[in-house]
């Protein structure tokens, strides 16, 4: 099971690295069109006004005019740079309109009646919003500790519908509360014989999404599910950590 944990951590790390690398390429069309940051700007030598050379007559006047033009261009570039910095610092938060995907780690307990039952699971899913209405779904695969034998495999799918607070608090935080329904199965071995138990439940989940940069999110939520596993019912308190784009 430790291999699975490290695998999940590696996947999260890879996705976050890819997201940060891609985040640098995103931005408003205006910013992309202006090479105000980055190598393009740095590689352009700042135009310095040329010192007028002591020449006679018309040549001297032309050279003075050219130096004045170069000086104006440099000042204009510097002004554009300042405007771009200002825009980036006060980038207005556009309400998220499109679908969003996320990966998550979840931890909860499916009591096995013998002291075990802890589940560590990886999840992949997405969400969509219609104003304050929040819709989501995710699939999950996890390992459940069984105290008397080999660990079990948990596979389930969940759907969520609920409310999210808009506009974002402080331009970064969006709290939400949703109803969650889940269905799936627990696969394991009892007395060296394969066995599968149906799992289904209904409950509530509250959490918050934190915008890190551009469209990269990290989320934390706590959920409660009243679930039935096979012939027994259980209370599932679930902690979920999400990384999304």
């Amino acid at each position: 099971m430790s291999v699975l944990r490290w695998s999940l951590a590696l996947v999260l790390g890879l996705v976050s690295t890819m997201a940060f690398a891609q985040a640098g390429e995103l931005g408003s069309p205006d910013q992309r069109a202006e090479p105000a940051f980055g190598d393009d700007f740095d590689e352009q030598p700042e135009a310095e006004p040329a010192e007028p050379a002591p020449t006679s007559g018309e040549e001297g006047e032309a050279e003075v005019s050219a130096s004045e033009t170069a000086s104006d261009e440099g000042a204009a570039a510097e002004h554009d740079l300042e405007e771009a910095e200002h825009d980036l610092e006060e980038e207005p938060w556009d309400p998220w309109r499109g679908p969003r995907v996320e990966i998550a780690y979840s931890h909860y307990s499916l009591t096995d009646g013998h002291g075990g039952g802890a589940v560590h699971a990886g999840q992949f899913g997405g969400a969509y919003t219609f104003g304050r209405l929040r819709l989501g779904a995710y699939g999950e695969f996890g390992i459940r500790e069984y105290a008397l034998g080999p660990d079990d495999l948990v596979a389930r799918a969940s759907a969520l519908i609920g409310y999210q607070h808009l506009p974002a608090i402080g331009n970064h935080l969006i709290p939400f509360a949703v109803v969650e329904g889940t269905a799936g199965a627990v696969f394991g071995k009892r007395f060296s014989t394969a066995r599968a138990d149906a799992l289904y439940g209904l409950g509530l989940r509250v959490g918050v999404d934190l915008r890190i940069v551009r469209t990269l999110w990290i989320g934390l939520s706590l959920g409660y599910l009243r679930a039935r596993v096979g012939d027994v019912a259980d209370n599932l308190w679930n902690v979920r950590v999400r990384l999304g784009l």
Partner: protein
């Protein structure tokens, strides 16, 4: 619901607070024995003569009704691809019956039988105690000819002794079998039958 929170949500035409409360009530009311109970999800077989009680997980255990009753019990787990009634020996088998002899006498007889049959003694005779506090003894052995493991358990009741015989192609000295034996009981039973 005319609260500030309800009004802010009213744009969608849904009373979210009521919906959340209904879901919470519905989810809490989900039926079924609690998963944390000691014997949650187990089937119970009470001897018709009132001597012993066996709790078992079904599936994979199956009750052989044709050979159970009248003081006897037979549970099996079929070999892969087989079903109850197959001619092949089951992967796991449990037989239970009552005896008027003492556990000590029964264990001594079983030990002599194991040695005489050329079986390998794995463990025992050793003492054991089940969840209800009833004490007994057991012997674990291996039959090299049939390649089967055997576990013989005798629990002392107030009068007779309940005898349980496990037979399997898998080692019976395991946590799962220990836990199943811990759920056995002999008369008088603790509490009502679940």
């Amino acid at each position: 619901m005319s609260t500030r929170f309800g009004r802010s949500l009213g744009e969608t035409g849904v009373s979210w607070v009521r919906a959340f409360l209904l879901v919470l009530i519905a989810s809490v009311a989900a039926c079924g024995p609690a998963a944390g109970d000691r014997y949650a999800g187990l089937e119970v077989f009470d001897d018709s003569e009132g001597l012993y009680r066996v709790r078992y997980l079904a599936p994979p255990w199956e009750l052989d009704e044709s050979e159970s009753g009248g003081g006897a019990l037979r549970l099996t787990i079929a070999a892969e691809g087989d079903s109850l009634g197959s001619m092949r020996p089951p992967k796991f088998e449990l037989q239970a019956e009552g005896s008027s002899r003492s556990p000590q006498s029964l264990l001594e007889q079983e030990e002599r039988r194991v040695v005489a049959a050329g079986h390998t003694m794995i463990a025992g005779p050793r003492a054991l105690t089940v969840d209800s506090g009833v004490q007994g003894q057991e012997i674990l052995s291996f039959d090299p000819v049939a390649t089967r493991f055997n576990r013989y358990v005798a629990l002392a009741g107030t009068g007779d002794t309940a005898v349980f015989r496990f037979s399997s192609t898998v080692d019976l000295d395991s946590l799962e079998v220990d836990d199943m034996i811990a759920g056995f009981d002999v008369a008088p039973f603790e509490g009502a039958s679940p």
